[in-house]
């Protein structure tokens, strides 16, 4: 029987296999940031261990860094200590670091692909659950905890149990105004936040093939929100064209491409489970609740908890509506928004900024809200500025910031106030995620832009 793509990549990275033990998996690339690494480096020091492969390791500052005044010392002393600790650790262990002010600084999952260091057939880990982003290139990429960060630093391997395989087939053609963000939000609403648990998802089908590289990253990025640790897409000409010319594209190009072209699921391979989604029928999606599975098409109304048969789902919906300050039956498009956040590892790349800029160009955002535009990396920011996108956003009344995770998780000063409501292109609508008491609706960049203009949740078609 043939193998799935995930099984092929996994098999290629098994260092050691033994009965009754997890596979020892080789890690091709280890991405590091300031929040989940300090205790790992401390562990190395305590045990007198070194970093086995600094040349397969790269660090950047993203989670807690400010997006204003980035060349001044970080005002929050605790954030500053964490960033300073990363700088000292990278220096001590010889790890490449892109600090604030460096052109390659930015969100770790934007930096890897833009350097061309994320490539098909790799195993990639990072102490961050959105590492699955890199799966868009046909890599097995997953988030790990700090103990595992230490493990990878010391050994460049990770004992891992092979996940089961899930295929999500998305066939058809997206309507105008419907994006890859809507695909993934619809998938999570369909299978639930635990639906992918224990699986590596392979996204397949004509609607996935038709996506750009950056749109594919948006899909894979949110695999964790469906409970899956990893999600991937087989490499094709789109993938190869994206990597070509990037700083770390293989020098041995033809040989690498030949290998990449062998990375697909064999026609006689069998997935443990397959799920189908019709792209023709998809509408812009938005979340109404406090987990990413609580989403609906934008034309729908806030649901009635009583409509859910399962008691736990019903209780969760009741809690969510209370926290979100929403009344069942309200059309989603009537929900007024206070803050629009455009950015994050989900939707902070250049195409995301372009698609939103196209909508706000020459217009003004609603006077009732603020809009924060946070490029995913310093390079994305400069690229956008070269195209004049900064002016488009600023002229529309939005704030143009420096790169980082920013309001996606509110670890830096970019936070929602209690009760403040956002339309956010990020990945999590958990209680308090964007600031204590803040209320988050997850949306695509074009819905974010349309919402900014109309003041209420909107799709571009509503303008």
């Amino acid at each position: 029987m043939g193998k799935t793509l995930a099984e092929k990549i996994w098999a290629e990275h098994v260092v050691r296999q033994a009965d009754g033990e997890p596979d020892l998996l080789y890690i091709d690339l280890h991405l590091i940031h300031e929040v989940t690494s300090p205790q790992a480096f401390d562990g190395l020091r305590l045990a007198g261990r070194t970093v086995r492969r600094p040349d397969l390791t790269i660090a950047t500052e993203d989670h807690n860094v400010p997006t204003l005044d980035i060349l001044k010392p970080i005002a929050d002393p605790v954030s500053k200590l964490q960033v300073d600790t990363l700088r000292a650790n990278c220096k001590e262990f010889g790890i490449r670091l892109h600090s604030l002010g460096d052109i390659e600084q930015g969100i770790v999952h934007v930096v890897g692909p833009q350097l061309g260091i994320t490539q098909p057939g790799m195993t990639i880990v990072c102490g961050d659950s959105h590492t699955a982003t890199h799966g868009a290139f046909g890599a097995i990429a997953f988030g790990i905890g700090t103990s595992e960060v230490e493990h990878v630093l010391a050994t460049q391997t990770l004992p891992s149990t092979r996940p089961k395989t899930m295929a999500i087939n998305v066939e058809g053609t997206l309507k105008p105004g419907v994006t890859s963000k809507d695909i993934i939000l619809a998938i999570i609403a369909k299978i639930g936040t635990g639906g992918g648990q224990g699986y590596i998802i392979e996204y397949r089908g004509s609607a996935i093939r038709a996506l750009s590289m950056e749109s594919r990253m948006t899909v894979c990025n949110m695999s964790i929100e469906a409970g899956a640790r990893a999600g991937l897409i087989a490499p094709d000409e789109t993938t190869i064209a994206y990597i070509k010319g990037k700083p770390h594209a293989p020098e041995n190009w033809d040989e690498a491409v030949a290998y990449w072209k062998s990375l697909y699921t064999d026609s006689d391979a069998k997935f443990d489970i397959e799920i189908d989604l019709n792209a023709d029928e998809l509408e812009p999606f938005v979340t109404w609740g406090t987990n990413p599975g609580q989403g609906l098409p934008l034309n729908a109304k806030v649901p009635h908890p009583a409509d859910y048969a399962d008691p736990a789902t019903r209780a969760s919906a009741e809690r969510a509506l209370e926290y979100m300050g929403l009344t069942a039956g309200t059309p989603l498009k009537e929900i007024a928004i206070d803050t629009v956040f455009l950015g994050s590892c989900t939707n902070g790349r250049i195409e995301d900024l372009r698609s939103a800029a196209e909508i706000v160009k020459g217009k003004k955002i609603a006077s009732t809200l603020r809009m924060l535009v946070v490029p995913g990396s310093a390079r994305v920011r400069l690229e956008a500025e070269a195209e004049g996108l900064d002016k488009v956003f600023i002229d529309a009344g939005a704030e143009w910031r420096n790169a980082g995770c920013s309001m996606c998780l509110g670890m830096n000063p970019d936070q929602l106030a209690s009760g403040e409501r956002s339309a956010s292109t990020s990945n999590r609508n958990f209680e308090g995620r964007q600031g204590k008491g803040g209320r988050t609706h997850l949306v695509s960049p074009v819905v974010a832009a349309a919402t900014a203009l109309r003041g209420k949740l909107s799709s571009p078609a509503d303008l």
Binding site: Y26, V78, G145, T146, N291
Partner: protein, 198 residues
Amino acid sequence: MEKFIKHTGTGVPLRRSNVDTDQIIPAVYLKRVTRSGFEDGLFAAWRNDPDFVLNKAEYKNGTVLVAGADFGTGSSREHAVWALQNYGFKAVISSRFADIFRGNSLKGGLLTVIVAEADVEAMWAAIEADPATAITVDLDTRTVSYNAVSLPFTIDDYTRWRLMEGLDDIGLTLKQTDFIDTFEDKRRSYKPATLPIR
């Protein structure tokens, strides 16, 4: 790592499902560079509520958290495990855990135990009826027991052995260095490297 063989303590009934790691410890509490001191951030947003279960005197000394389904979803922050441990929890019982959280917990010696949802409901009822109910989590026999109830749970042999011996995962892998060396010798030459900078 401290060995985990068997623990007996009282329970804390957390009647919520989908408790994500942002609820267990919000991002603003993740800025420490140590592994300790995270107890203040544990369920920080909920602890302002006097009715929140951890604020009730009868559950103050609980060491076994009994939670709803899909505990630990979201972010990979191991700080969620540390916050629970720093606060004093030794085990968490739920019908389903998110993968990364479970992996982190078992690396760090916080035992996560999976039992059926109906069993979680029954435990909640028992603990609420008598908060002093002793709960024993026994890794040796792979059972959770309280009152006259004994529930078997599964955990793979390897993880169980590692926890019962209190073994350092990294130390175990470093014994396999020969295998890693051999693997590296045959890695594809065109795989990218971060250094030298290009």
